[in-house]
Symmetry: C2
Amino acid sequence: MKLSLPPKTLLLPSPVLIIGTYGSDGKPNMMNAAWGGIVSSKPPCISVSLREATLSFHNIKQAGAFTVNIPSEKYLKESDFVGMVSGKEYDKFKATGLTPDRSTLVDAPIVKEFPYTLECKLVREIDLGSHTMFIGEIVGMIADSEVLNPKQLPDIEKVRPMMWGSFGSMAYYNIGDKLGDAFSVGNELKQK
Amino acid sequence: MKLSLPPKTLLLPSPVLIIGTYGSDGKPNMMNAAWGGIVSSKPPCISVSLREATLSFHNIKQAGAFTVNIPSEKYLKESDFVGMVSGKEYDKFKATGLTPDRSTLVDAPIVKEFPYTLECKLVREIDLGSHTMFIGEIVGMIADSEVLNPKQLPDIEKVRPMMWGSFGSMAYYNIGDKLGDAFSVGNELKQK
């Protein structure tokens, strides 16, 4: 039976984006954000939406840059932790033992232990109410050689990313099985 | 070893969003979009970025509304198909056998067979280059009673959504195991 329910920001799956920034004091910070995604191919852009209450919000505005770091599932605890506490109270790199590498392209830290990172220059910010959407142009990508496919692109089966089950489960999940190839399995419906 | 690579719109995992729209002739259409995500909590908003070449782009502009339908993994072929062909050439509902239900809240069709749907009113459009980002306020949600948890929210383990492995695999995946509870598993790092 279909039910009509109140509106909810419930997207399945939701990504686990670890946003890296520097403060005006040069201190690296990271936070866990689920409100974001790719928004354009040319130029390559990604958005992340943050509340003004976060330190990352102010860091991005000040530095004009951020990184989107994709954690593998083995960094479950660290990823959850950086979404639970504020960089105003914690040195989150110190508390997690993760390492902030310097980017040569943008003024934002790379989480060294994570499989890959998108380096982003802030190109636009849009106030949407509770959240401001920061649109970053992806100007480079840093990846562990071990997670790349032969075309030098991060392979989901090697990255082993996590996802968030949103408000219906409030839990993290890993990827399961490969179901089929995109732009391929749908071919058989073309004849109908 | 860390490698510096060219920028790429490679987000893991990427969602599988089936966007529902009506044409000015009243004909329902749907397409598969991976460029999108939640962008704000209050008001609850979601974005989807589309190229002008798509029929959905024009339908959204004309109707001022769209739906975001989340397919379960059993609709793999149908989801791939609606991303491969244009609504200008195919009646995609007819070709897939899926059913366009009418929304009482927005001028956009609900894919009846899918576990849940976000009903969205267009509130903003932002030209980003190759893609225009359409921001929709989520004004309602339609869900199968079978996929809801006791709080009446879609449960990822019942919805069984798909994800796209992006350019590194060009394949669809399902969800795997529950890894841990959000805002919980990170607690132990608070003491460090």
